[in-house]
């Protein structure tokens, strides 16, 4: 028999999963509206991806004194939310459960948790609540390229998280590649921490109109951010090359260099534009974000494909999903950044606290503006349609199970596989440790065939992970 630690059950009005920008805001709004709230978060301290910071050694109120707060955009928003979060905790309105991962959400709602990988000391708790706000955020979207399985290749966000959490760099000389505005803060963070960024390769050609667009769509803060990065890039002499990609990561045993090329608007390599960077320690890739959809999908929410090709949950003006009592906020409703995540969290938390309220809700204008801006961003930074052309038949697509592009196209062409699910069945792509979190999008694209984008069904199939997090069998043995 198992000697698993016995878990406690906590019953509240509103349960919130995630303590990033969206989850913190949702918890605060729900608590301030009078609800009893529980917040489950895998992190050891609040902040999520965006406000990830070094381990707090002092009282949170003094967090602004820490060097770590410096350089975080919206840090004052964090401090404000954090102060309100802590006050609600002290008042007994918020039960905060850090270091726990929800591995299963049952309808109605019951959350089953397990200690997060880095927090093996925590004791799992079961949370029941009549309303649930899911704010699980997202992670870097990856596309395979020859050599990307070599050590030294990281997700761009992984590099940033590494720096934010540890205060040191994972290497000295970096190449950052992919698409989207997020490549900028990653490169900036590396430079600020003393690393050398040899190049930032952006596959699109977002022209000078982007800052104007930011202003025009009513999000002037974004224009300011852009200008700051431009100055920082100039100061650190970081080359920013548009319409450029990494075509191959070079190295034996680990990443040592990259081959790059210019591409056309579709992402097709332009002959004769190849060049190489040698003496590289770390290659960071980021192709936008993949919202973490396993919990919403497992509870059966309606989904759609967003402008960036990601599967996201459909919500109404209260942030309520198609499942009554289930609210979504942050990246799972569409990748849109931290400011939008906070706005959505506030709306979701308030609505979840008063589910029976019949007063018609008008979506805050700021949410509309930020969504519009996010859509424009996605359109300016598409995943290049021709990316599968960069692969050779022996390029690894699923790193966990070592499945190659050739095996995938063969399953598609000869066995009739055409979506993430059938590819998984026939090739094992997505069956390994990460359960398709890394290769799911790429496999879905390859399954759809040349020039085709994966549909919602295929992406939902790849987001279907009945265990939202790994959980020890000894813990499962305690279930009845």
């Amino acid at each position: 028999m198992s000697d698993a630690v016995s878990s406690s059950t906590i019953s509240v009005d509103v349960a919130v999963v995630g303590a990033g920008p969206a989850g913190l805001a949702a918890a605060v709004a729900a608590a301030e509206a009078g609800a009893r709230v529980a917040v489950v978060d895998a992190g050891a301290q609040p902040g999520g991806q965006f406000w990830r910071h070094a381990r707090e050694t002092v009282q949170p109120e003094a967090a602004d004194d820490q060097p770590d707060g410096h350089g975080h955009h919206g840090w004052s928003t964090y401090l404000d939310l954090r102060a309100r979060f802590d006050a609600a905790q002290r008042a007994g309105r918020i039960t905060y459960l850090p270091g726990l991962q929800v591995w299963m959400a049952e309808p109605g709602f019951t959350l089953h948790t397990t200690p997060a990988v880095a927090s093996s000391g925590t004791v799992p708790a079961t949370v029941t609540a009549s309303r649930l706000v899911l704010c699980p955020g997202g992670y870097d979207r990856q596309l395979p390229v020859p050599g990307w399985e070599l050590p030294g290749v990281m997700a761009a966000g992984g590099i940033q998280a590494f720096i934010k959490a540890n205060g040191v760099l994972p290497g000295k000389r970096f190449v950052i590649a992919g698409t989207g505005p997020f490549l900028l803060p990653v490169a900036a963070g590396i430079a600020e921490a003393g690393g050398k960024v040899l190049a930032v390769l952006e596959s699109s050609a977002p022209s000078a109109w982007l800052p104007h667009l930011a202003a025009a769509s009513g999000v002037p803060g974004k224009a300011l951010e852009g200008a700051e990065y431009a100055a920082l890039f100039a100061r650190h002499r970081i080359p920013y090359r548009t319409r450029s990609i990494v075509t191959e990561v070079l190295g034996s045993g680990r990443a040592e260099g990259v081959r790059t090329a210019k591409v056309d608007a579709e992402g097709r390599v332009r002959p004769g534009t190849g060049r190489a960077y040698t003496d590289v320690d770390v290659v960071g890739f980021g192709w936008g974000f993949t919202p973490q959809m396993e919990l919403p999908v497992s509870l059966g929410v309606d989904t759609r494909i967003d402008a960036d090709g990601s599967l996201v949950g459909v919500v109404d003006e209260r942030q309520q999903s198609s499942v009554p009592g289930l609210f979504l906020a942050g990246e799972v409703t569409g990748v849109g950044g931290a400011t939008l995540a906070v706005l959505e969290g506030l709306a979701a938390g308030a609505a979840a606290a008063r589910p029976d309220s019949t007063t018609p809700v008008k979506q805050p204008a700021a949410i509309t503006r930020h969504r519009r801006f996010a859509q424009a961003m996605h359109q300016a930074h598409p995943v290049p349609a021709a990316w599968p052309d960069w692969l050779t038949p022996d390029t690894t697509v699923c790193r966990c199970e070592e499945v190659t592009a050739g095996e995938i196209t063969e399953a598609r062409d000869n066995l009739g596989a055409r979506d993430a699910r059938s590819l998984k069945s026939f090739t094992r792509a997505g069956m390994g440790w990460c359960q398709g979190r890394v290769c799911g999008f790429a496999a879905a694209c390859l399954g759809a065939g040349p020039g085709e984008a994966p549909d919602a069904g295929s992406l939902a199939g790849s987001a279907k992970r009945p265990l939202a997090a790994p959980v020890a069998i000894g813990e499962l043995a305690a279930l009845d």
Binding site: E106, P107, L415, S422, G474, A477
Partner: protein, 409 residues
């Protein structure tokens, strides 16, 4: 692969591209028959993609199912030998472990019966058991080793058999659900008991006339039979399977608890589980499986997960600290008498069935397909199919409420 559409007649029309339909199509094509396979989705979209790929002798008691299992094993090893690699065929052997005196006694009883029937089974004392499976629980009293037990990757079996069938001239059409049967005879068009001979099927892509229509739709077989006005009582029996993180090899055989045997044949509706623990080539460990009759309920059952976990850790205590990364569930197609339905349905001439293989359809597919193909080709099957005859469900079948669809062909 041929995904073209448009109606065309054939000798045999196979409904369903799970392992059973795929094997039937493959062997029918080998018999020189012209074959069309239709599925409402892709190959292996049903139970065949939500199971384990065990080909077991060890869990069968004396009777027609054991006979079919052994026949099928021969087909896997001989007729399909050249394709073994395609579906990751592995002869790893099974071990049944008894942890209680009472289960050791029933294990010995079963072993004796099986030995009498020629099954390759060897008794393992505690020391031999520990040598075969060093991480087995200290509580284990003894066991039995079944060298004939083997495994395949079921999704690859279905997909490749369909592909091989098409290479032998068969045609496969995906996304084509059968909605009604074409009938000859009185009225020529009525779908139902008195509709005369089954002469083909109707689908949203048009009609497909055929000399013989084979119902290989697994848990849907009862529904399809009802469209022809006959009863084939195939019901779903849900099963959960759990998958661990990848590990270095710790479990070397398929390892079952002796209680497995008692469970398999039981009709009890309640939740049951006996551990079937096995390592896979990729390092993950599969922990199967529960059995319960809850219709087609897809809600995740924490009770089922708990039971699987407790049983698995009782067999292999090291699993307690190992992480599960996934679980899945499927619905075994079973008949009340726990025997599959294989053969011509005299109640609806022209209609054949191969369904209801419950928890053994993967293993039994090769034999089922070959025998049925022989019968379809007008030959005498290598093995008597009478015990599996659809007619055993009697005339009462006439009273099922069938959808009455008009077909004009």
């Amino acid at each position: 692969m041929n995904f073209g559409n448009g109606p065309r007649g054939s000798d045999v029309l196979v409904m369903g591209a799970g392992v059973i339909g795929a094997a039937t199509a493959y062997f029918a094509a080998q018999q020189g028959l012209s074959v069309t396979v239709l599925d409402k989705g892709l190959p292996a979209g049903g139970t065949s993609s939500a199971c384990e790929g065990n080909i077991l002798v060890s869990d069968k008691e004396l009777g027609p199912e054991l006979e079919l299992t052994r026949y099928s094993l021969g087909v896997w090893h001989n007729d399909l030998a050249e394709h073994k690699k395609l579906w990751e065929f592995e002869s790893k052997g099974g071990i049944i472990v008894a942890s209680r005196e009472s289960s050791l006694a029933s294990l010995n009883r079963v072993m004796a019966v099986q030995q009498g029937f020629g099954v390759d089974v060897e008794e393992l004392d505690q020391a031999a058991l520990r040598e075969a499976e060093p991480h087995i629980s200290r509580e284990a009293l003894g066991g039995a080793s079944y060298r004939e037990d083997c495994q395949v990757q079921p999704m690859l079996v279905a997909a490749h058999l369909v592909r091989l069938a098409t290479e032998a001239g068969a045609r496969f059409i995906a996304d084509t659900p059968v909605t009604a049967f074409l009938r000859s005879g009185p009225g020529r068009s009525v779908s139902g008991r008195d509709g005369g001979r089954v002469t083909g099927v109707r689908t949203p892509r048009g009609d497909f006339p055929a000399g013989a229509v084979v119902n290989c739709t697994g848990t849907w077989a009862g529904e399809l039979a009802a469209l022809a006005g006959v009863e084939v009582p195939v019901l779903p029996r849900r099963g959960f399977v759990m998958v661990t993180e990848p590990l270095p090899p710790m479990v070397h055989h398929k390892v079952y608890a002796a209680e497995y045997i008692d469970n398999v044949g039981s009709s009890d509706a309640g939740l049951q589980a006996s551990p079937v623990v096995e390592g896979t080539p990729s390092g993950t460990i599969l922990i199967g499986s529960t059995r319960e009759r809850v219709g087609f309920d897809r809600t995740v059952s924490t009770a089922a997960l708990g039971l699987l976990a407790r049983n698995a850790t009782a067999l292999f205590p090291f699993l307690e600290r190992v992480k599960a990364i996934r679980h899945y569930h499927g619905f075994r197609p079973y008949c009340p008498d726990h025997l599959p339905v294989i053969g011509h349905d005299d109640r609806a001439p022209g209609l054949w069935h191969a369904a209801g293989h419950e928890g053994a359809g993967i293993g039994l597919s090769a034999g089922t397909g070959k025998l049925l193909a022989q019968a379809l080709a007008g030959l005498t099957p290598d093995m008597d199919l009478t015990p599996f005859a659809p007619a055993r469900f009697g005339e009462s079948g006439a009273h099922t409420s069938a959808h009455r669809e008009e077909a004009t062909a």
